[in-house]
């Protein structure tokens, strides 16, 4: 079974004011068939965790490890991690001018599979996946994320997840900025993906509402660069009613 293992992960970035530690010892294990929700206030380091798993060059791992099925993920380049089975749906997907969605998807899937997909089945697969996400076929001819609405960008991320079929999907606030209809469409996509079996999902979110549609197995509270509390789905309900106040207060009392 798939297993992503994050051990004592410490991460810094170089800022104008010198080195700054953002992740301060993160421990998390995600197995296939498990969905982990990570919730925390803005600036607590959730996106940093997502980026570091994917290998963004901006962040420096100062200690700890990330392994996928026992293999050292940190030793791999960004593209090799993706080919190893890691997918990141970004909070802010990037525009790539002049590159069409269809060319992008085909190039990606070829890289991931190691061979070009058969044209006929591929066209059909893309069409069906787009249809299920209520995306207009004309979408394929647009440039990647260029002029997309917030909801279109998020659907496009989920479309990629469904087509690239990773072992571990990290979804960074894929629910943010979606109206109720779009939230359902996106959640259905995540659930279809989970139903394929042996899929680990790291669902990073600021709000609890997506958890009504995508039921997590575990909920972790992220605060100031570490996981400060873990529990089952009921923890999300506590957060829903109480917010992050008590972690803020706890941190204030400690310092």
């Amino acid at each position: 079974m798939t297993e992503l293992d994050i051990r004592d992960l410490r991460v810094s970035i170089d800022t104008d004011g010198g080195e700054r530690e953002i992740l301060r010892g993160v421990n998390l294990t995600i197995k296939g068939n498990e969905t982990h929700a990570v919730m925390g206030p803005n600036g607590s380091g959730k996106s940093t965790l997502a980026y570091v798993i994917a290998g963004h060059p901006k962040y420096r791992v100062t200690s700890g490890s990330i392994t996928l099925d026992g293999a050292d993920l940190l030793a791999l380049s960004v593209d090799a991690r993706a080919r190893a089975g890691v997918f990141l749906a970004m909070q802010y997907p990037v525009e790539v001018p002049g590159v069409s969605v269809s060319n992008f998807l085909r190039t990606s899937v070829t890289a991931i599979r190691g061979e070009a997909p058969k044209l006929r089945t591929w066209t059909k697969d893309v069409k069906e996946a787009m249809n299920e996400l209520s995306m207009d076929p004309s979408f394929a001819e647009r440039n990647v994320n260029e002029g997309f609405s917030g909801g279109e960008k998020k659907r496009h991320e989920i479309l990629q997840m469904e087509l690239l079929n990773p072992a571990i999907a990290v979804l960074d606030e894929t629910d943010s900025g979606l109206d109720v209809d779009a939230l359902k469409v996106v959640s259905d996509g995540v659930n279809r993906f989970r139903a394929r079996g042996d899929k680990g999902v790291l669902l990073i979110t600021h709000y609890t509402r997506i958890l009504k549609y995508v039921r997590p197995d575990f909920v972790h509270v992220f605060f100031d660069g570490e996981i400060v509390e873990s529990g089952g789905p009921e923890l999300a309900d506590v957060l829903e009613s109480e917010g992050y106040e008590r972690y803020v207060n706890k941190a204030a009392n400690l310092s």
Partner: protein
């Protein structure tokens, strides 16, 4: 061969038109070097008329010492004539091949009224070439001229491309500069009647030590004409240098003018430099539109990260981003075969610069 007298003085490098040009690398083209080299010009069979004609009776006005020396040197011009009311068809393909030494050449393209055609000039080979291209687009005609500079690494190419756009005529030029040690092209546009439309597109890739200079001047002297300029360049490596000068002059009687010019440069690595100077002179306020944009930026790490995070290797990701950067200009060429040919040349050059590699999945 005698050295010809010209009314243009030898540039010193202090003159505005020459201040960016590495004069020391011009092998005397800007001075008094003799034209003892050779350039071969040939063409594919075509339904249009292509012939060598005497210079006598051909009117052409040089713009600087190099174009004037080349004009004084040539005894015949290669003339392409697009017959009146020709309804389009296969492109007219001319090949200009440098065979070494300092050489001159002159190509004249006449699109007769209401004709439609595409002419493709492809420059390859070695040597130093002073080559002029003079284009006349007749009333109501539609002409596309593609000029590809695919020179060997040590070649030199200085040229003047002039077009006169007729009444209600449409001219589109696509300049693709990928090879050569120094390439310096001066493109001038004027209008012989109202309603003319000129679109000047450019794509260039500049490698280490290369100097690529495109100077454009559109002079609006007729009412209701349009000029549109879009040049995009990517630069890589130590000493890669591009210069883009876009001058537009709108004379008092050119009311209803619509003009826009754009230059964008993408710096792919340290040590490359792009100079970009747009300049608009309006002598009337009664215009439809006027604007310009110029920007030089670096490779966007986030774009590369996004593509790589989808499994795409770095060298393929780079090629996608650079191709994407050029895409909107290339798409304006308006002919799928030509667009594919341009992208093919760009890809080959990217690969030879070691910047990218074509993945099997990449298609335009």
């Amino acid at each position: 061969m005698t050295i010809t007298h010209t009314e243009f003085a030898v540039p010193t490098g202090r003159e505005e038109p020459w201040r960016f040009t590495p004069l020391a690398r011009l092998r005397g083209l800007e001075g008094d070097s003799e034209f003892t080299g050779q350039v071969g010009i040939d063409w594919d069979p075509t339904d249009c008329r292509v012939e060598r004609v005497s210079c006598d009776g051909v009117r052409y006005e040089p713009v600087d010492r190099v174009s004037s020396r080349a004009w004084a040197d040539v005894s015949e011009v290669v003339q392409v004539t697009i017959p009146r009311e020709r309804a389009g068809g296969p492109s007219v393909n001319l090949r200009v091949k440098g065979l070494g030494g300092v050489a001159s050449g002159h190509i004249r393209i006449v699109a007769e009224p209401f004709s439609s055609a595409t002419v493709v000039l492809t420059h390859t080979g070695a040597g130093a070439f002073a080559g002029n291209v003079d284009v006349e687009v007749g009333d109501g005609a539609s002409l596309t001229v593609v000029s590809q500079q695919l020179w060997d690494a040590d070649a030199l190419h200085l040229g003047h491309h002039h077009v006169s756009v007729g009444r209600d005529a449409r001219y589109r030029s696509a300049v693709v500069t990928l090879g050569g040690d120094v390439v310096r092209l001066v493109s001038t546009v004027d209008y012989s009647g109202p309603g003319g439309d000129a679109e000047m597109l450019g794509v260039f890739l500049v490698g280490p030590g290369q100097h690529v200079e495109h100077r454009l001047l559109a002079t609006h002297t007729q009412p209701h004409c349009r000029s549109y300029v879009a040049y995009k360049g990517a630069l890589d490596g130590e000493g890669a240098h591009s210069v883009w000068i876009g001058d537009v002059i709108v004379r008092p009687n050119a009311i209803g003018t619509d003009t826009y010019e754009l230059n964008r440069n993408l710096i792919l690595s340290e040590g490359a430099r792009a100079d970009s100077v747009p300049n608009l002179e309006l002598e009337t306020g009664e215009i439809t539109g006027a604007g310009h944009a110029s920007a030089t930026g670096r490779f966007d790490d986030d774009q590369l990260f996004y593509l790589q995070s989808r499994g795409i290797p770095m060298d393929v990701a780079r090629i996608l981003v650079v191709r994407g950067f050029f895409a909107d200009v290339v798409q304006r060429v308006g002919d799928p075969d030509l667009e594919a040919a341009v992208l093919f040349s760009v890809d080959a050059r990217l690969e030879s610069l070691g910047l990218g590699r074509l993945g099997e999945a990449i298609e335009s």
